[in-house]
C-alpha cells in the first residue's frame, strides 16, 4: 500500500517536472494566434489607407503598394501559423519555434510597411512575382518604393504630417536637383521635385 502511494507521488512529481520542461521556451499556440490577430489587423489598416487615399492618385498608388506588401506578409504569416500548429501537434518544438519566428517576422514587416517602410527584399519579391504590383500602380511609384527612403514623418526631423509642407532638407534627386519633402495625410514623407516623386540621395 505504501509503495503504491509512493509511486503515485513519484508519478505526479515526474509529470510536474516534464510539464515544466515542456513549458520552458515551448511555443504556445495562443501566442501564435495573438500574433496572427495583430497581423490580420494590419490588413484592416491597409484597406482603410486605400479607402482614405481615394481622392489622391499618387497617395492611392502608394497605399495599394503598401497593401500588397501587407497582404503578402499576411499570407506568409498564415502559412507560418499553420506550421506552428502542425509542429505543436507533432511535438516538434524546434520547428514550432522556427515557424513562430517566421510569424513574428511577417508581423514586423507588415507593421513597418504601414509606416511606409518597404521590406529590404521588396525588389526581389516583385521580380519573383511573389508580390504582385496592383493594377493602376505605376512603375514610377514602384521605383520610389524600391529606391527611396520613405520614412514615417516622426522620424524625419519633426515634420508635421498634417501641415502638408514643402520643406527643403538638403536632399538631392538623382539628377542633382534639390528635392522638397512632402508629407501626405498618411504621414508618409516622399521626396519630390516639381511635384513629382523622385528617387533621391541624402536622407
Amino acid at each position: 500500500m505504501k509503495d503504491k502511494k509512493l509511486s503515485k507521488i513519484v508519478f505526479i512529481a515526474g509529470a510536474v517536472v516534464f510539464s515544466a520542461l515542456l513549458g520552458a521556451g515551448a511555443v504556445d499556440l495562443n501566442d501564435a494566434l495573438d500574433k496572427m490577430i495583430d497581423l490580420n489587423g494590419t490588413g484592416t489598416v491597409a484597406a482603410e489607407k486605400v479607402a482614405d487615399a481615394a481622392d489622391d492618385a499618387k497617395s492611392l498608388e502608394m497605399a495599394k503598394l503598401v497593401q500588397a506588401v501587407v497582404n503578402y506578409e499576411i499570407q506568409q504569416g498564415a502559412a507560418a501559423l499553420d506550421a506552428v500548429r502542425a509542429a505543436i501537434a507533432s511535438g516538434d518544438d524546434a520547428a514550432a519555434k522556427a515557424a513562430m519566428k517566421d510569424l513574428e517576422a511577417a508581423l514586423d514587416v507588415a507593421q513597418e510597411a504601414l509606416k511606409g517602410r518597404f521590406p529590404k527584399d521588396f525588389e526581389s519579391l516583385v521580380e519573383r512575382g511573389e508580390i504582385v504590383i496592383p493594377p493602376g500602380v505605376s512603375q514610377e511609384t514602384v521605383i520610389v518604393a524600391i529606391d527611396t527612403p520613405v520614412v514615417p514623418a516622426t522620424e524625419a526631423g519633426g515634420v508635421n504630417p498634417n501641415a502638408v509642407p514643402w520643406e527643403s532638407k538638403g536632399v538631392q534627386s538623382a539628377q542633382g536637383q534639390e528635392a522638397g519633402i512632402f508629407a501626405n495625410a498618411q504621414g508618409l514623407i516622399t521626396p519630390q521635385v516639381g511635384g513629382q516623386i523622385v528617387p533621391v540621395t541624402g536622407i
Partner: protein, 170 residues
Amino acid sequence: MKKKSWIVSGLLGVLMAFSVGTVQGRDADSVLGAVDEAKNAVAQARAAIKKGNDQSVNLSVSEDSPYLNSVVSVVKQGSENWKLALAALEKAEECEAKLLSSSVKDKNLELYAKANARLAVARVSVVEVSLAYVEAMYNGKTEKLKVLEEAMGDAVEAANRMQATFDLLN
C-alpha cells in the same frame, strides 16, 4: 414607365474625421488598448451614422442607375458588418470587465478580448468604407466609386481573414 427609387437613409456622415484615432491612456498594442481602440472606432462610426440620420440625408438611386447593384451591395454589407462589429465589441467589453475585476492574469481571456476587439475594428472598417461610398455617391463623386468598391472588397476580405483566425480560438 415604372421607375422605382431605392432610398438609402441616414448613411452620411463621413465628412467628420473618421479614421481610428490614437488610443489615449492605454497602449494600443495591449489588450485593454485594443479594446479602447475598438470602442473608439465603433463610437466614431455610430456618430457618423447618427449625423447622417440627424441631417435626414437620403440617397436616391434610380432603378436604371448603373450603380444600383453596387450601392445595394455596399449598404447591405455595411449594415451586416455594423451588427457584427457591435456584437464583437460587446464581447470584448465583457472580457474587459472580467479582466479588470480579477487580480489573476488570464491569458486566454486576454486573447479572447483582444481578438474580439480587433474583429470589431475590422468590421467597423467595412462600415467606414460603405459610408464613404454612400457619401461619394451622394456628392456625385462617381469617379471615386471604383476605388471605394475595391476598398470595400479589401475591407471585407480583411474582416473575413480576421474572423477565420478568430474562429481558431474556439
